[in-house]
């Protein structure tokens, strides 16, 4: 096919518009890829996932190759989204491939003006020491009326709505076992 610049633009514009409509999820029509060479995802490993943004729980298909995510798209088998995604769900590829992602354990010493990097072991060991010190210093075994309350009042825990269930459960077990009562997360706000 002999493409001039003008027909090329027309074609890609048309494809783009179709893709946009399809993404809104109102059109259920199989798309046939027509392109030179092999599909980028042909040899990729395919796994399913669920979108990490809102609570609709749309299905994702993730293609990975060479230890990298090379494509993420809506899962057409998923009964809620049937392949469609919103702009955030469509952009998840840029969470998996993003130069701004944290890749090191960062540490800021008291009164310091900068971040430095640490190993996991150094950081986790110091965090545990800090948590023990705070717990031992602020622990309330009995309240004013003499009732046993066993509260770690100087420590607060936040977060969880973006974690997996298994992580949430373990976080709850972790905090309760340490006696933390200031345990809160996004559901409260």
């Amino acid at each position: 096919m002999d493409l001039t610049r003008r027909t090329f633009l027309k074609l890609t514009g048309g494809t783009l518009a179709a893709a946009t409509v399809a993404n809104l999820g109102f059109v259920k029509r199989r798309a046939y890829a027509q392109g030179p060479g092999e599909l980028r995802i042909r040899a990729a490993r395919e796994t399913t996932s669920i979108c990490p943004y809102c609570g609709v729980g749309c299905g994702h298909i993730v293609h990975a190759s060479g230890g990298k995510v090379i494509n993420i798209e809506g899962d057409p088998e998923h009964p809620v989204n049937e392949g469609s995604l919103c702009s955030k769900g469509s952009a998840l590829f840029q969470v998996a491939n993003n130069e701004k992602r944290l890749t090191k354990v960062m540490y800021r010493a008291p009164h310091s003006t900068k971040w430095e990097t640490k190993t996991w072991d150094r950081a986790l060991t110091k965090i545990a020491a800090n948590m023990k010190k705070t717990r031992d210093e602020t622990f309330v075994e009995k309240d004013a009326s003499g009732r046993v309350v066993n509260r770690n009042e100087g420590t607060a825990c936040l977060g969880g709505a973006a974690l997996d269930n298994e992580e949430c459960y373990l976080y709850s077990k972790f905090a309760r076992t340490l006696g933390v009562v200031y345990l809160e997360h996004q559901a409260r706000i």
């Binding site: 999820g25 109102f26 796994t47 399913t48 996932s49 943004y53 809102c54 609570g55 609709v56 749309c58 009964p79 049937e82 702009s87 955030k88 469509s90 952009a91 840029q94 701004k100 992602r101 944290l102 960062m106 950081a123 986790l124 060991t125 545990a128 800090n130 023990k132 602020t138 309240d143 009732r147 046993v148 309350v149 066993n150 509260r151 420590t155 607060a156 825990c157 936040l158 977060g159 969880g160 709505a161 973006a162 997996d164 269930n165 298994e166 992580e167 949430c168 373990l170 976080y171 709850s172 972790f174 309760r176 076992t177 006696g179 009562v181 345990l183 809160e184 997360h185 996004q186 706000i189």
Partner: protein, 783 residues
């Protein structure tokens, strides 16, 4: 959600109120659209003409903070025109239950208010009991003290004229909504209500939700396909994180956190387990002892035995409030020494966020695990910190794993727990949160073993044996629970025991991972009912019941109110369809109460449980431009205002404009997961404030100008977006403007902007302490 996303397609009328689903839950709109294609009516009620409103058949504006005036008006319309489903209301709600004759309501206050303590004594908000200990009922509905008649009297003040004066919604528009929605009171019609944070983030947010639930009960819409009351959850697993109770007042499975006066397990169970004398009431919470003991066994294993009260003393006992606002108030006073955060950004997402950032300067240490450097992690170098050298806090910023970099389940709004797989390793040194929790806990335990310390027993006896890196499957199985006699995974929570022979980390999730495998990973597409339940797709709590309260989807004889979308039905020998609410073979003639979670078996039009009254009553927000027209009581009488030096409250004299906040499709929550994504940043690059052309004209502001938005808490800058989506409200003759702005922005990431929460008040709902983000006062000026 009582129902689920696909089920929206089964509705005849969808009222979206306190939510902009088209913008914030875009894929939910596939199902709204399908319902509309089948002839459903869409109603959008919102202060702003939103993307949702643009698709609606009826758009009704209302001033932020006046939901109860609006829904109270619909309830009045429904009752006074007898548009309710009488058989449903009589048999499934407490409409006929007789209330204590001492109960009353006057001048905006219910009986039992203590002005010194600012709380209610609820002893008059109770049923009259007969000599067998059953609540008294009058099935003729003639007794003036039956709940339905008390409700009629209560809402008789909520006339269409009153609704218009309070909310600013034109009377004709209100009546159009009331007529369209109340049409679902017909036997074979069904309507659904979709709501989100526009409903909950108010000082009367819980009562806003209750007013919707009451309306749905009157119209006979709970339990049916295409009905229910549906909270649209904003985060991918905020349903699961709530089920696992990362909240001070509940422990996994919505069990109440032990209080200081629950001195031992027996006292806790005696005080917490509801009793019912009625053999026809399932009273499901009677099983609390089984749930609690099994939870303690999951937490403490062999350390939980009969002779030590199953480790009950290991759990902290609360007295008072430890919610988000209380937590930051305590931190501001210097009472919190360390803050441990797994994926939350309160420096942007918290109320009065300037105060929250200031409070963090009092911390000795902060741990924050996230995918990006957030405003919370780097608060010590934020724009309001003049000298980071003066900030003492030791900060650990831990690189976490994203959704495709770990394995585990998340639960959507429809209660579906869905498994996701790991596609790749996290980047660099990043690790998942199971690793982080395990790494800290095992080191802490080693320290307590070596050095001793305060009350080390729970830490030393905790059943925490996950090796170097916890396996999510092992944790999921622990949540599901085991029979310790056989060593096998439990089939579901009906097998739980209160004698220590079973364990389950969360009874609601029992059945999610059984000897038959990981139910949350299932991908079966069968739809035997044809109404989109997909019972073999992943797994949903409780016991894979896709629509809860489904007994109420049938009339008293067991026939579906709407046969074409039957959820369950009685076939003469058993209930078929969805997993039924109670016994598969218990016949309808037995008359077992439909609402199994209530001791009396009836849903409550008249409710005893909330802090601020048995009926939802309209009060003005903490900051309001007008006086309450419905009573002398201006604000919700039982709200708590902490009042530290940074908790200022504004007055309409200085701040005459109502303000609200909202979200955008292209950004998410406090921005950490979107403001560093170039595609999304390009689509929505800047902070803006929407205002009406009339307000812009009065203030000399043009579209695109940079403006200052000022509240009693602070001042921010944003681009003016002048739009007819906002219009001034006519409130009993006084014209009041409203503005709105997104709350996603902060100073980190590749797109930055002012934080809207620098303006919002530090005051919470009377029941939940959810902050009043959605209605406060401000002023706008050209910058």
């Amino acid at each position: 959600m009582t129902n689920h996303w696909i089920d929206i397609r089964n509705s005849d009328c969808i009222m979206i109120i306190g939510s902009n689903a088209a913008e914030n839950h875009p894929i939910s709109f596939r199902w709204v659209t399908k319902a509309m294609e089948n002839g459903a009516t869409l109603i959008s009620v919102d202060p702003r003409f939103t993307r949702t409103s643009s698709k609606a058949d009826i758009y009704a504006p209302l001033r932020s903070g006046t939901d109860i005036a609006f829904t109270g008006g619909i309830i009045n319309h429904c009752l006074s025109n007898k548009l309710y489903n009488e058989e449903y209301v009589l048999n499934y709600t407490n409409a006929a239950h007789l209330v204590n004759p001492q109960y009353g309501f006057k001048d905006g206050l219910f009986t039992g208010f203590d002005p010194k303590k600012m709380t209610y004594d609820k002893s008059t908000w109770q049923y009259q009991m007969d000599d067998k200990g059953f609540p008294k009922r009058d099935p003729t509905l003639k007794d003036p003290n039956c709940a339905l008649n008390l409700m009629k009297a209560h809402y008789s003040r909520y006339t269409p004229d009153m609704v218009a004066k309070v909310t600013g919604c034109p009377k004709e528009k209100f009546l159009e909504v009331a007529n369209a929605y109340c049409a679902t009171g017909a036997r074979d019609k069904v309507g659904t209500i979709m709501y989100a944070m526009g409903t909950t983030q108010h000082t009367h947010g819980t009562q806003n939700v209750r007013s919707y639930a009451v309306l749905q009960l009157l119209l006979g819409n709970i339990g049916l396909a295409g009905g229910g009351i549906n909270a649209l959850r904003g985060e991918s697993n905020v349903q699961g994180s709530t089920d696992h109770c990362l909240l001070f007042h509940i422990i996994p499975g919505y069990l109440g956190t032990p209080q200081a006066d629950h001195v031992d397990l027996k006292t806790y169970l005696d005080k917490r387990t509801p009793k019912s004398n009625d053999p026809n009431s399932v009273n499901y919470w009677k099983n609390l002892p089984k749930f609690m003991v099994s939870l303690l066994k999951a937490f403490y294993g062999d350390g939980a035995a009969k002779n030590n009260d199953f480790g009950y003393s290991y759990l902290p006992k609360i007295e008072g409030n430890y919610s988000h606002i209380a937590l930051f108030e305590k931190m501001y006073e210097g009472g919190i020494k360390g803050l441990f955060i797994l994926g939350q950004n309160p420096a942007v997402g918290g109320p009065n966020s300037r105060m929250e950032k200031k409070a963090m300067e009092n911390l000795d240490w902060l741990v924050a695990a996230d995918l990006w450097e957030t405003e919370t992690a780097n608060f010590w170098q934020g724009p309001e910190v003049t000298d980071p050298k003066k900030v003492k806090t030791e900060v650990f910023l831990l690189p976490a794993a994203g959704s495709v970099e770990k394995e585990g389940s998340i639960t959507n709004s429809g209660r579906w727990a869905q498994w996701r797989y790991k596609a790749v390793n996290p980047p660099g040194d990043a690790m998942d949160d199971l690793y982080i929790l395990n790494g800290v806990f095992t080191r802490l335990r080693a320290l307590y073993k070596k050095e001793g310390g305060k009350f080390a027993e729970p830490i030393l006896n905790c059943a925490w044996n996950y090796g170097e890196h916890p396996d999510p499957h092992a944790v999921a199985k622990e949540i599901n629970g085991y029979d310790h006699g056989t060593g096998k995974l439990l089939v579901n929570f009906t097998k739980l025991a209160d004698d220590g022979t079973t364990s389950s980390g969360n009874w609601l999730y029992s059945g999610s991972y059984t000897e038959d495998g990981n139910m949350m990973a299932r991908r079966g597409k069968e739809d035997p009912t044809g109404i989109g339940l997909y019972p073999n797709w992943t797994w949903c709590w409780p016991v894979n019941r896709r629509i809860i309260y489904n007994r109420a989807s049938c009339d008293t004889k067991g026939n579906p109110w709407s046969p074409k979308r039957a959820v369950i039905k009685w076939n003469g020998s058993e209930w078929v369809g969805d997993v039924p609410d109670y016994g598969k073979t218990v016949p309808p003639e037995k008359g077992v109460g439909a609402f199994i979670m209530k001791p009396e078996g009836f849903a409550r039009l008249f409710g005893m449980g909330l802090a601020d009254g048995p009926f939802p009553e309209h009060y003005e927000p903490l900051e309001s431009p007008v006086n309450n027209l419905l009573s002398k009581q201006e604000k919700n009488p039982v709200i708590v205002v902490w009042g530290c030096a940074m908790d200022c409250v504004g007055d309409a004299k200085d701040y005459p404009i109502v303000a609200t906040t909202y979200r955008l499709t292209e950004h998410w929550q406090a921005g950490a997961m979107t403001r560093s994504l170039p595609w999304l940043v390009e689509l929505m690059p800047d902070m803006f404030v929407e205002m009406s052309p009339s307000l812009a004209k009065a203030k000399g502001i043009k579209h695109g100008d940079i403006v200052k938005v000022i509240s009693a808490r602070g001042e921010i800058q944003a681009y003016a977006l002048v739009t007819k989506r906002f219009k001034p409200f006519n409130l009993n003759g006084k014209m009041v403007e409203e503005i709105g702005m997104p709350w996603h922005y902060g100073y980190s990431g590749i797109c930055c902007g002012s934080t809207a929460n620098d303006l919002t008040p530090n005051v919470g709902d009377a029941n939940t302490m959810i902050p009043e983000f959605k209605a406060f006062l401000c002023d706008v000026q050209k910058a």
